[in-house]
């Protein structure tokens, strides 16, 4: 098996998850939390960080055990590992802030079925060194968090007039509540996707020229 582990860790290992393979905007994975908890920027940030934590830890452990786990039970093993770290994140958030915990609700535990994590474990962590898995996991996590923040910031500013709880819109601004409601989530994501695809198109045209 061509073990990619011998390739060195590069900037690409990290940056992959930011732009080219951004989990939300490019790979369209992990949409459930992306829409459900981005009604405020704070929730979006917390969810992004929790997911990043699980990505890094599970990637590390899966990579560490990659030669030990038999092929037949690998998915089951990955899921147990991921579920463990998700539960840890769950209790961690509860211990840090009850308010945050209530705001995020069951979606913290739903990180375990976030296709990004299982996908990364299967496609990357099981085939690379722990160090590369950590770096790549961090990149993916940061990309995911940034995507969530894009959604969260827009939705909170337009939908509540605030940012991270601080009112930033002028008093006379009537918040567009739709944006913090479910339909708004869909619309904002659709808008960002269009922006993304426009920028990508311009980039490919520029590179081709």
């Amino acid at each position: 098996m061509n073990d990619k582990a011998v390739e060195p860790v590069t900037w690409e290992t990290f940056a992959q998850g930011l732009w080219k393979e951004n989990p939300v905007f490019v790979m369209m994975l992990g949409l459930c939390p992306a829409l459900a908890v981005t009604n405020t920027a704070m929730n979006a940030l917390a969810m992004g960080l929790a997911t990043t934590f699980v990505l890094i830890c599970s990637g590390f452990l899966v990579s560490l055990l990659r030669k030990v786990i038999p092929k037949q039970v690998r998915i089951a093993s990955y899921i147990i590992i991921i579920a463990t770290f998700v539960t840890m994140a769950d209790y961690g958030i509860k211990a840090i802030s009850l308010d945050l915990y209530q705001a995020l609700g069951a979606f913290i535990q739903l990180i375990v079925v976030n296709c990004i994590i299982l996908g990364r474990a299967e496609a990357y962590a099981s085939k690379n060194t722990p160090l590369k898995a950590i770096v790549n996991g961090t990149g993916m996590g940061v990309g995911f968090t940034l995507a969530l923040l894009c959604l969260g910031v827009v939705r909170e500013v337009l939908g509540s007039g605030s940012l991270f709880g601080v009112m930033i819109m002028p008093e006379r601004f009537q918040p567009w509540s739709i944006f913090v409601l479910p339909p708004g989530g869909f619309f904002v994501l659709a808008a960002w996707l269009m922006v993304f695809s426009y920028v990508r198109k311009r980039k490919t045209l520029a590179e081709a020229a």
Binding site: V68, P70, S77, G92, A95, S97, Q102
Partner: protein
């Protein structure tokens, strides 16, 4: 640089190896989780206790310390903080050691889900003196005005809870009696739910509380 020979297919692992690996991972994860649980337990308990205390002080203006009680068929029992999860009502004591009032819970279904409230009750004047929405999922900007709207909050500074009449939410601006709550127009379902929560909770708890207080400590 390409491989000249196809990669060797690893022999399928034996059943024993499968079970041992899975079992090993499961045991490791179980240990890790048990450790996390034990480690975070005190922090979580402290958070919950602080949140509860903040809520109690919110609905009982002037209170600086809290006493936990359990009210059931055996009467009113004081509980210490170790058994706080068995408490179903609380008292707030002010700086002079006088009781400001009791804090009781209530709940009713709102627009989206169940709304949970804590309200402050002054036994001397038979009035509700404060209300705090503990958890709600009401529509932001509309239903959640039960939390933000200051005029709505005014309703709960001296709401008649002598039970001569049921507490009820009326249309915005039509409040005439001290046991009525002025609703929020545009958030009817949510404000009616608050009225329902208070009505049912007062009807359930206040008679028992009066009886227990009369029977003495």
């Amino acid at each position: 640089m390409t491989d000249s020979t196809p990669p060797a297919v690893p022999a399928p692992a034996s059943g024993v190896r499968l079970i041992v690996t899975l079992g090993g991972i499961a045991v490791f994860s179980g240990i890790l989780l048990a450790m996390t649980y034990e480690f975070t337990k005190p922090y979580i308990a402290r958070n919950e206790s602080e949140a509860l205390e903040a809520a109690v002080f919110d609905v009982l203006p002037g209170a600086v310390s809290r006493v936990n009680y359990r009210l059931d068929e055996q009467g009113l029992q004081q509980l210490d903080d170790d058994n706080v999860d068995q408490a179903n009502l609380y008292a707030g004591i002010d700086g002079e050691g006088e009781r400001v009032g009791f804090a009781l819970p209530g709940e009713a279904r709102g627009y989206a889900d169940v709304i949970r409230v804590l309200y402050g009750y002054d036994h001397e004047t038979r009035q509700i003196i404060g209300l705090k929405v503990l958890s709600s999922n009401e529509t932001p900007g509309l239903g959640d005005r039960i939390i933000r709207d200051e005029d709505f909050q005014e309703n709960f500074k001296s709401l008649d809870a002598s039970l001569t009449h049921d507490i009820v939410t009326v249309k915005s601006g039509e409040k005439e009696n001290p046991w009525e709550i002025d609703g929020i127009s545009g958030a009817t379902v949510s404000s009616v739910a608050i009225g329902k929560a208070l009505r049912e909770s007062t009807r359930t708890w206040l008679p028992k509380l009066s009886q227990a207080l009369e029977e003495g400590p």
